[in-house]
């Protein structure tokens, strides 16, 4: 009997404890956020035990405990899959969440409902754990929908603001479009394979997996904000910054990629879907990187860079390297969460100022945040021997050496170079140069809650990539040998991006204002996508539902065909046929005459 599964269950149970105590008096306590944070940290430490065991022995487990129901030939039970992906991702997610919770104790301290905020964060974490560890599609779907709804609640946290509400609704809508794909995949698996259990799906063979895989790709597109369904991610920045750090960088948005990684055994030999994934990812990574170039809102830039990295993960799945995509998920979680927290620190210090044009010179007043932001950005761009390098460099190398669509590869390389460009832009405008913020603001970052949480992720951003990639063997082997120039491509394009951006940023100073070019407009208006899709589609569909569904069909046609026409024809025919013309006097007169006549006749009868 080893401790593998029991430790894992303990870690998951610990997470539910603060939810249970929320019905007791403890929930009214000021210390509730602290309990939640501590529970998360304990869960992280306990979950490290099975992860260490996994790293040591490589054993994978399936826990199957509560039989829910058996519907004819299909058995549904609660079961957890503790394999390579979940065993690595659970501690990473718990670690990141732990730091983010500590950060939100600082960021949200003046919020009157901070306890509820922590409960929501924890509920989100639990649903994410359910998603990651699920062994059957139904349980996966519970987690999948759960994170969607929790993101709705968390984005709409400041529910008095219209923007927050629309952003929350947008997130649910785009996710829901993805869910249709998920449901379709579920239906297909049920129909053709008669099971929702993952390992049973993988061992059964079918010649054509196109349809369910398309469904899963749609689901991943919605959840991971790929091209077509991407606008919700930048809009979601209306939520509090800890929410952006947790949901929209490290956990929820990678769920789509995670799903494709989970179902990779089916995708392995399916060229069509792989090509689709590759092209989708490439388009996403380029478009969102272009959008990130001209944004002025610091959170929006980071959000677009998240979207771009998600596109990169999709590209990786498209070139048949799920292991690398997964590695990128794990490493990305550290530095992207930290970037969000740094921007949160800046925003909070500058009295909720998010515009990078109004920052500047922060390296003097916020030295620690500046350091972390720079390290995070460097890790994001794939600076050698920082965390991002270990996954990103490998991804670009495998893309370079794989036998694949040259356009997609080229687009990805351009996006990689743009990553450096927009990272430079944040650093240049927010951190360097002269201060452009109001001199009256008192800036102080010396709060242990802030420093410790960022510090923990900072260490992660420097070392996690090395530790993870060093201790775990890849499941699919990346390309080992390649020519020098291919080996150096990733680094070269990144450095190119850096230098270009720096030069461009320097030239912006002291030049006169030019009327923005069309390229600039394309980027700053997010490729005109929201302008078209968020105006045209809702307008047409709402007009159709008003004019044709509601007015024409329901109020006019259906009303006229049945009830109105029946009553009309009844009325017409009754007036036509009946000899009643409403001549009351005449009728009564004739009535009276008959009465009198009959009385007379009866009286004088005999």
């Amino acid at each position: 009997m080893n401790m593998f599964s029991s430790c894992m269950i303990t870690a998951l149970v610990i997470l539910t404890l603060p939810i249970i105590t929320s019905s007791t008096k403890l929930y009214k306590n000021k210390l509730y956020p602290y309990y939640v944070k501590t529970a998360t940290s304990y869960a992280f430490m306990i979950s490290m035990i099975p992860t260490m065991m996994f790293i040591y022995s490589g054993q994978e487990t399936i826990i199957s405990n509560w039989h829910w129901m058996t519907i004819q030939t299909m058995k549904l039970s609660m079961s957890f899959k503790l394999d390579y992906f979940s065993m690595i991702f659970v501690p990473v997610a718990l670690f990141v969440t732990w730091s983010i919770m500590e950060f939100s104790m600082w960021y949200m301290h003046s919020d009157p409902y901070i306890n509820r905020f922590f409960k929501y964060l924890l509920l989100f974490l639990i649903t994410m754990m359910v998603l990651v560890t699920a062994n059957n599609m139904f349980q996966l779907f519970i987690g999948w929908e759960g994170v969607g709804i929790m993101s709705f609640l968390l984005i709409g946290w400041w529910y008095g603001r219209t923007d927050a509400n629309t952003a929350a609704l947008q997130a649910v809508l785009y996710n829901r479009i993805g869910d249709v794909g998920f449901i379709m995949a579920m239906a297909w698996f049920l129909l053709n394979l008669n099971t929702w259990d993952l390992q049973q799906i993988f061992i059964t063979t079918n010649d054509n997996f196109n349809l369910p895989l398309l469904g899963l790709l749609l689901a991943a597109t919605g959840k991971s904000a790929q091209f077509g369904l991407h606008p919700w991610l930048p809009s979601a920045m209306e939520g509090p910054t800890p929410v952006s750090a947790l949901l929209h960088s490290s956990t929820m948005v990678v769920a789509g990629v995670f799903l494709l990684i989970r179902f990779h055994p089916l995708m392995e030999h399916n060229q069509t879907i792989q090509t689709l994934t590759l092209c989708l990812g490439a388009i996403t990574t380029l478009l969102t990187a272009i959008c990130a170039l001209t944004q002025n809102d610091i959170k929006k830039i980071v959000a677009f860079s998240t979207s771009s990295q998600l596109g990169l993960m999709m590209v990786t799945i498209g070139i048949n390297q799920p292991y690398l995509a997964f590695l990128h998920i794990c490493t990305h979680a550290f530095f992207k969460a930290m970037l969000f927290m740094c921007s949160g620190s800046i925003i909070h210090s500058l009295n909720d100022e998010q515009d990078i044009r109004k920052m500047g010179g922060l390296f003097k007043v916020l030295p620690f945040t500046t350091t972390s932001l720079i390290i995070g950005s460097l890790a994001l761009t794939g600076m050698p021997f920082l965390t991002g390098f270990y996954s990103k460099d490998l991804i670009i190398e495998s893309a370079n050496t794989s036998n694949t669509n040259a356009w997609a590869l080229l687009i990805t390389l351009v996006a990689t170079s743009l990553t450096a460009a927009y990272s430079t832009r944040i650093m240049f405008f927010a951190l360097l140069g002269q201060p452009r913020f109001s001199p009256m603001i008192l800036i102080n970052e010396n709060n242990p809650l802030l420093i410790n949480s960022i510090k923990r992720l900072l260490i992660g951003s420097v070392f996690a990539g090395y530790i993870i990639s060093h201790s775990i063997t890849p499941t699919t082997i990346p390309q080992m040998t390649m020519p020098h120039y291919l080996k150096m491509t990733a680094l070269a394009v990144t450095i190119l991006g850096f230098i270009l951006a720096l030069e461009l940023n320097l030239t912006t100073q002291g030049l006169k204002f030019n009327y923005p070019s069309n390229y600039f407009k394309f980027s700053s208006l997010l490729g005109y996508y929201p302008t078209i899709m968020h105006r045209l589609t809702p307008k047409t569909s709402l007009t159709i539902s008003q004019k044709s569904a509601s007015m024409l069909l329901d109020s006019i046609w259906l009303e006229n065909i049945l009830p109105k026409s029946i009553s009309y024809f009844q009325m017409k025919s009754s007036t036509l046929i009946s000899n009643q013309k409403g001549l009351i006097k005449l009728y009564f007169l004739s009535f009276m005459l008959t009465m009198i006549l009959s009385l007379l006749i009866l009286n004088y009868h005999g």
Partner: protein, 459 residues
């Protein structure tokens, strides 16, 4: 079955003899006790049915609906207290008696073992409902609504009577339990097509099928709260129940007769849910959402596979509880704002946070969040329609998206945003209302722990 029917009848003298301040609490308590008895029928030890007598039986299809009916009476009583607080005592008692009478008819409808008996009771339920709508509705339009309600359902169900007489003539019996063994496949002829239509239209109107649904939004909007609750929760389910019972008689005609109705429901489901997107009237929105959900049930029943039957049964129960809860919430808004217009009730979360939690949970169950039984119902229906034809997933998918949209639109409009000034001094939410919502939500949540008791006979 008498152990439910007799206590239900005895509720009427209880109402009339109770002291004025005890009428609500007495009837509610006893109603809850009766619903506890009905829970025992959920345990179906035999494979087929529990026969109580020659006239009554219950099987795993009718038992959940029976439990839902008896569960709903105390909830209706709790919900209408405020609505009737200004009425004189006799009228209150009359109102309660009407609700009890309706419950009585419904219990007997769901447990009748004879088709003609079922038909009579099916029609009898119209009377108390009509009285409730036209007597206690809030506006003058209630008379129009009552007219629509009565005529649509009567016109639909009169051919059924003729069809039943005909079936009795050539089969010799109308007993549910017997005819399923005696039934011969119907040959394909014009007269049999009309027989099929006559049998199904009564229930299609009741469900309602898209195109024949006009009575439903009117009746829902104009009815008092208890009327809306029982209409949405139980009366619509009579249609689904009847269809599932009578399709056994109509094979194999259903295989091809189903097509126009399937198309109509699939189309109507999208149409009605997109109407929801444009509703400003809260009750009308919930009513149209009922039509769209019931279209799923019609599709499931017409597909006639074990999975689709399970889905239909689960969806009926889930929708019964959810829509009834939504009507209660709408009513609690109405009692405070005195308007059904959603925009006037915006920003209520700031003022009534606990109510906002109920709103959230009700909207989430309405959009079928896993693992609620709403999801189980919808998922099974989607699965069976996918296996019937892969293309239906497009329509189902659009409906899933729109359902989520209007549920959250309703939630955001009424609860989120800044509150307006005219609602500053509204009453806080009462314990009665919170208990009401809890009693709706509790079965929903508990059933998702063990959904197999509401999955119907095929399970």
């Amino acid at each position: 079955m008498l152990k439910i029917i007799i206590p239900t009848i005895m509720l009427i003298p209880l109402t009339w003899m109770s002291k004025p301040n005890m009428i609500w609490i007495n009837t509610t308590t006893y109603g809850l006790l009766i619903s506890l008895i009905s829970l025992s029928y959920l345990n179906q030890p035999n494979d087929n049915t529990l026969n109580s007598s020659l006239m009554f039986f219950s099987d795993s299809l009718s038992a959940p609906l029976l439990a839902l009916t008896t569960w709903l009476l105390p909830l209706m009583l709790m919900a209408s207290q405020h609505h009737l607080s200004k009425e004189p005592l006799t009228r209150k008692k009359l109102y309660i008696s009407m609700l009890i009478l309706l419950q009585l008819f419904l219990i007997m409808t769901f447990t009748a073992s004879e088709l003609i008996f079922f038909y009579i009771l099916f029609e009898a339920t119209l009377i108390p409902t009509l009285i409730i709508i036209t007597r206690w509705g809030n506006q003058t339009e209630r008379l129009n609504a009552g007219l629509y309600f009565l005529f649509y359902t009567l016109m639909g169900s009169l051919p059924l009577l003729v069809a039943l007489l005909y079936i009795h003539n050539f089969m010799g019996s109308l007993n549910f339990l017997m005819i399923q063994y005696w039934i011969q496949p119907l040959p394909n002829s014009w007269s049999n097509i009309f027989l099929w239509l006559a049998c199904m239209m009564a229930f299609m109107v009741k469900m309602p099928l898209y195109g024949l649904h006009l009575w439903l939004p009117k009746a829902h909007v104009e009815a008092p709260i208890a009327g809306s609750m029982v209409l949405a929760a139980v009366l619509l389910k009579l249609g689904g129940y009847g269809m599932m019972r009578i399709t056994t008689l109509l094979n194999p005609l259903t295989n091809f007769m189903a097509y126009p109705f399937m198309m109509l429901s699939l189309w109507g489901m999208i149409m009605t849910s997109s109407i929801c997107l444009r509703q400003t009237d809260l009750k009308s929105l919930i009513a149209y959402s009922s039509v769209s959900h019931m279209a799923l049930v019609i599709v499931a029943v017409l597909i006639q596979t074990p999975w689709s039957y399970m889905g239909a049964t689960a969806l009926m129960i889930a929708h019964g509880l959810t829509s009834s809860m939504l009507f209660c919430l709408a009513n609690s808004n109405y009692e405070r704002i005195h308007s059904r217009t959603m925009i006037l009730a915006r920003g209520l979360q700031t003022l009534l946070p606990l109510m906002a939690a109920w709103w959230l949970l009700a909207s989430l169950t309405n959009l079928a969040l896993p693992p609620t039984i709403n999801l189980i119902g919808e998922l099974f229906v989607v699965m069976s329609s996918f296996s019937w034809s892969n293309i239906t997933i497009i329509l189902m998918g659009i409906n899933i998206i729109i359902t989520a949209l209007y549920s959250l639109y309703m939630l955001i409009t009424t609860q989120r945003g800044k509150y307006s000034h005219h609602i500053k001094n509204i009453k806080p939410s009462f314990t009665r209302e919170n208990a009401l919502m809890t009693l709706h939500l509790l079965p929903l949540l508990l059933l998702s722990l063990n959904p197999k008791i509401i999955l119907g006979p095929i399970y």
